[in-house]
């Protein structure tokens, strides 16, 4: 009996309270790190938190968490996925499952949703230097079906070595059949010698994600540098999702169509800006201006602000229908807001995520990260800004946002953002914290 008491006391003393459950954090926004399964030494250099998604893996109605650790080194392989199955008290102290992979598995992640209707969500994980049966080092994307222990559905691969297939992922229903489709970026693919390393984007249609019937959108002479950044959502109001992707200095869009996708090899909509990094992040928002079209946010994380490079800028652009060419640098009805980052090389708008109602006015808000933003007390830790719907209007400034500062050195806070909706929390990846060991932080949005 005495032994039991000693053990209980020792456990209570040795295990920090915050490592047991992801807590509700209250108004102070004090961030709490997500504990890890492997020791810090095992995951040293793994960059856990490079990617992350929130989804119901096992169909129990709770939101679970998948974290990518693309540089985890284990038994000669590189890359891992960490699964945290939640219960009513939140996320567990340690991963429920750890899946080791190779080829930098976990660089990218995307949730596909409840594809087969049993409540267990599908998701896809990218390994930018993964190898497949008939091609090596091309990059691969593995589609998993959720469960207490997720299992592999299929593996998709790039065309040629070092295409970095799987660098970026997105999902949405582009052909209107009710199933989520998977979109994969391969930014170093070469469609032809003249378009060496200019990139390609591939669309795989649910529910089967058949590699043989995919659609390829290759770089062209006018739209190169594609495959680094993707987003999906219905911006033209036809009820079918549209595909938006970064091209050099532009964001180009292809409207989804129930007949076939894309209806034309020529983009339906083009947004352009002279700002460096325009399109680094893209997100389809809600209808901000009441015109019945969902609007979009585009980040230019390397934009120069007040002569300071890499400071970043956020554009809020109007959705609409028909063929459109929009210059985001010029004042027009298409430009709903343009928000400058802090002039400190913070790379504002590195990632963008629509979140829930932040200010209780019944309208959604927006989380925007600056992965090099100044923290407290360290500079360049990373920073996350929370904008309410009412602060995303013409003339808005970054000062109208609520800011969350990183607290650890060189952590790249906000590399990924994910919403834990039922708990009213925001998850933010910090993959370079503690010498690239990485960590995930949670913040209370309520």
């Amino acid at each position: 009996m005495l032994t039991r008491i000693v053990v209980v006391v020792l456990v209570w003393l040795l295990v920090p309270a915050h490592s047991l459950y992801a807590p509700a954090l209250g108004a102070s926004n004090k961030p709490v790190p997500l504990p890890v399964f492997l020791s810090q030494e095992d995951l040293r250099g793994s960059m856990q938190g490079q990617a992350g998604i929130v989804l119901d893996l096992n169909g129990d109605g709770n939101e679970d968490l998948v974290i990518g650790a693309p540089y985890a080194q284990r038994k000669g392989t590189t890359g891992a996925l960490l699964f945290y199955l939640s219960n009513s008290r939140g996320f567990p102290a340690r991963p429920s499952t750890l899946l080791e992979g190779d080829g930098n598995l976990g660089w990218s992640l995307v949730a596909l949703g409840n594809v087969d209707g049993d409540g267990k969500s599908y998701f896809a994980a990218g390994a930018f230097s993964g190898s497949a049966e008939d091609v090596s080092l091309s990059g691969t994307v593995t589609i998993f079906k959720g469960g207490d222990k997720p299992w592999k559905v299929t593996v998709l691969s790039g065309e040629n070595a070092m295409d970095k297939f799987g660098y970026a992922l997105a999902s949405g229903d582009l052909n209107g059949d009710g199933y989520p489709d998977l979109i994969v970026g391969a930014p170093f693919h070469s469609p032809s010698p003249a378009l060496y390393q200019r990139g390609a984007v591939y669309v795989y249609f649910g529910p089967n994600y058949d590699a043989a019937s995919h659609v390829k959108i290759p770089a062209t002479a006018t739209n190169g540098g594609i495959g680094f950044s993707l987003a999906v959502g219905d911006i033209n109001g036809d009820g079918v999702d549209d595909l938006l992707l970064q091209a050099s200095g532009k964001v180009i869009g292809f409207y989804g169509a129930k007949s076939s996708f894309p209806a034309s090899p020529t983009p339906d909509v083009v947004f352009s800006s002279a700002d460096a990094g325009f399109g680094r992040s893209i997100a389809v928002l809600w209808d901000l201006d009441g015109d019945n079209f969902r609007d979009l946010a585009v980040g230019a994380d390397q934009a120069t602000i007040d002569d300071t490079i890499d400071s970043g800028r956020l554009f809020i652009l109007r959705g609409g229908t028909g063929k459109r060419i929009v210059n985001a640098d010029a004042a027009s009805p298409n430009l709903l807001a343009r928000i400058d980052g802090e002039p400190n090389c913070g790379r504002f708008a590195s990632a963008i995520l629509p979140v829930g109602d932040l200010d209780g006015d019944g309208t959604p808000g927006l989380a925007v990260s600056a992965v090099h933003g100044d923290g407290n007390p360290w500079p360049m830790t990373g920073k996350i800004f929370l904008f309410s719907d009412s602060s995303l209007t013409q003339g808005a400034t970054i000062t109208s946002a609520r800011a969350i500062q990183g607290e650890a050195r060189d952590m790249h806070l906000g590399t990924f953002l994910a919403l834990v909706a039922k708990r009213g929390q925001l998850a933010g990846g910090a993959p370079t914290e503690n010498a690239n060991t990485g960590r995930v932080w949670f913040f209370d949005l309520r």
């Binding site: 090596s136 040629n160 500079p379 690239n436």
Partner: protein, 334 residues
Amino acid sequence: MEKFVTVCLVAFFVSGLAMVYNESNFSALGRMYQPPPEGHAVGKDNDPEHGMHHAGENCARCHCMGGRAEAYAWTMAGTLYADRSGRSILKGGEIILQDREGNVISMTSNEAGNFWTTAPIASNPYTVVSHGGPPEPLYVLDSQGNLLQPADPTDPRTWLYKAWVRKGFSVRPMLTIAPAAGATGMSMTCSMHHGAMGSRGALWVSPAPTLPSYPDSGLSYRKHIYPILRSKCSPCHIPGSTMTRQVTKADIDTPSTSFDFSNGLDLMTYEGSTVGSVVKDGVSSAVDTANPEQSLILQKTLPGKVHAGGAFWNNRAPDYIAIQQWVKEGALKN
């Protein structure tokens, strides 16, 4: 006659390898085959700071005069990887720079793959910059061509160097004479172009094979050979223009010392390529199925051979044996 030409060529290249390197031949062509300097203390120019952060990013954005970390202004820095794809970082690799005055700078990569130094890099008073347009001299000549005003020695664009990376017996030279701040005046370091996700691939060196294993027979171009070529032969042997950048007065004088560092060979395509007016031979022209060991892609990259891109393997290395076997099997595009 053929033998005579070969002997002359070998003599030329051997004399090139044995030549004295000084400021008179400080150009891309003059240093084309220069082996790395020897006899220095490895890592002698490492800066003592911590340096575990921002691996693969452009260090000089902050670590420069006027930058956010100007208290730690570096002359050169970057991140070293074990492979061109940036699959994993490399600890303990050596990065060697030599400037026109013969100064040797040696750094070693740390646990994050990072390296950095504050060692000065000699300025070239005859620096020119070129970045997609005609070269622009940073110096001023009088009407007789005499130097009236040298390039500003505090301008990092005038800090020119030749570089090598080394790990074990594996050594990879940088072909061009590079400016420490690029051509546009933006501060940059190796990671600007050679980050893990950079357009030219990661800065890398390793004697390790490209793939973990190869079959003894039935080699596939797509699965086994192309990964080797894209890992080890780019960014030199790629489609399109691959002329060295013009960085000194010598480069814009006649005869030009700028050269095509692909030597007309595109190893990213099997058949060869035509991009605009640039026509290049492909992989199929660099193999000899009758005498596989004599294939250009095997011969050029053995130790002791004349190859500006360095030596990649010996004839017992898995990559070498895989290519050799594939050539023996007909060098098919399979």
